[in-house]
Amino acid sequence: MDIILSVRNLNAWYGEKQVLFDVSIDIPRYHITAIIGPSGCGKTTFLRCLNRLHELGQGNKVKGEVYFYGRNFKGNIYDPNVDPTEIRKHMGMVFQKPNPFPMLSVYDNVAIGLKINGIKDKKKINEIVMNSLKKAYLLDEVQDSLNKSGASLSGGQQQRLCIARAIAYNPEILLMDEPTSALDPIATSKIEQLLVELKKEFTIIIVTHNMQQAARISDYTAFMYLGKLIEFAPTEELFETPKHELTEKYITGKFG
C-alpha cells in the first residue's frame, strides 16, 4: 500500500486534559479515509494534528510523530526544524460550516490563497481559479456570478467554493471536518460525488458523524473512541464484519 501519512504514537492535550492517546495509523494515498466515532472521541483533534493546527490553541500540546511522504516534503512534520505553515500548504482544509470570505467575490475566494502566496501572474491565477472551480463541480453554476460575494451562494455552493479554495494551491491532502453536516441531502450528495472524483488527485481524510456517509464514500474507515484508535480497516470490512466489539456496538447503535 502506498502510504502518504504515517502517524506514530500521537498524543494531544487541551491544557492538562489529554484527548488523544497513542494513535498510530497509516493513511493510504489517493484514497478516502473516514474517521468516525462519538462526539468527543478526538476525531477532530486528530485531524487538526495532521496539519499542525491543534498546537495553535492556547495551552494545547502534541506529542508523537507524523511522517508525511509528500512530493516536496518527506519526514516527520513535528520535527523541530519544520515550519508548520509550510506543512499546511500541502494540506487543504474544509470545515463543517461553509466559510467563504463574505467580503470577497466568488472568484477572489479561490484566488486569495494564490495571491497571498506570491503568485502575481494574472493569467496563471485565472487559469488556476477556473480549473479549481471546475474541479469542485461549481464553475457551471457560478459562471455568471464570479464577481458576486461568496456569501451570496447557497450553502452547498459555498461549501464547494471552500473546496475549490482548498484545492487551488494544489495540496496533496484534503482534511475535511464534517463538510456536509450543515447541508441538505442534495447538496450533500453533490459533495460526496465530488470527493470520490477528487481522490484521483488528492488524498482525502474526512471526519464524519454520518456513518452512512463514511460507508458510501470512503475506502478505509477508522473508528475512534475516548481518544484512542479502536479499529482501522477497509470500509466494507469495518461495516460488515468489524473485529472489535466496541466498533460493532457503535455502528449498530447498541452503545451506552
Partner: protein, 210 residues
C-alpha cells in the same frame, strides 16, 4: 431497544415459522412416499405457503435495509435471513418433488427402501440441527450439520454406483429411489447452507462453497 430490533424480531419469527413448516413438510413427504399415502395436496399447500413466506422475508429484509441501513451483525443477520428463507422454501419444493415421485410411479412398497430410510433419517436430523444452530447461534451444531452432509452425499453416490454395477432388477424402484435420494441430497445441501449462515452471522466468516 433500538427501532430496528422490532423489525429483526418480526424477521426472526417468520424464519422460525418457515423452519417448523419446512421440517414438517419434508418429514410428511418422505413418510407419505414410504407408506404410499396420498398427501400431494397438503404438501403442495405447505410448499406454496413456504414460498409466500420466503417472499415476505425478502420484503421485510429490504424494508429494514431501506429504513435503518443496518451494518455489522445486523446486516449479516438480515442477509442470512434472506438466504435461509430461500433454503426453507427449497425444502418445501423438494418435499413436493418427493411426493410427485409417488404420483408418477405409484406404490413402491415392494422396493428396497434401505438407502432412502437411512438418508432421510440423517436429513431430518440435519434439518433439526440447522434450525437449532440458527435459533441458538450454536456453531458446534452448525459444524455437525456440515459433517452429516457428506454422509448423505455418500449414500446417494454409492446408490448410483451400485445401480450401474449391478444391473437393476426393477426399473421403477431404481428410478424412483434415485430421484428421492437426489432430492434428499439437495435438501441436505440446503441444510448445510443454513448451518453455514450461522457462522457468518456470529463471526462474519464465510466457508468456500464445495
Amino acid at each position: 431497544m433500538r427501532l430496528i430490533d422490532e423489525g429483526l424480531q418480526r424477521l426472526n419469527s417468520k424464519i422460525i415459522r418457515m423452519a417448523n413448516l419446512s421440517r414438517e413438510t419434508v418429514e410428511l413427504a418422505v413418510n407419505a412416499y414410504l407408506k404410499n399415502e396420498k398427501l400431494t395436496d397438503k404438501i403442495f399447500h405447505n410448499s406454496e405457503t413456504l414460498r409466500i413466506l420466503q417472499d415476505e422475508v425478502s420484503e421485510l429484509a429490504v424494508e429494514l435495509i431501506a429504513r435503518y441501513q443496518p451494518v455489522a451483525s445486523d446486516l449479516r443477520y438480515i442477509k442470512s435471513c434472506m438466504e435461509i428463507a430461500y433454503g426453507f422454501s427449497r425444502f418445501g419444493r423438494y418435499a413436493y418433488d418427493i411426493i410427485q415421485v409417488l404420483e408418477v410411479f405409484g406404490d413402491s412398497s415392494s422396493c428396497d427402501h434401505t438407502s432412502i430410510i437411512k438418508a432421510s433419517e440423517i436429513v431430518h436430523k440435519m434439518i433439526d440441527l440447522s434450525i437449532e444452530a440458527f435459533i441458538n447461534r450454536d456453531l458446534e451444531k452448525s459444524l455437525l450439520v456440515e459433517k452429516m452432509d457428506d454422509e448423505v452425499d455418500n449414500i446417494y453416490e454409492s446408490y448410483i454406483a451400485n445401480l450401474v454395477k449391478e444391473k437393476y432388477k426393477d426399473l421403477k424402484c431404481a428410478v424412483s429411489a434415485t430421484l428421492i435420494l437426489r432430492y434428499l441430497e439437495r435438501i441436505a445441501d440446503h441444510a448445510s447452507y443454513i448451518a453455514e449462515a450461522v457462522l457468518y452471522i456470529v463471526k462474519g466468516e464465510r466457508k468456500p462453497r464445495k
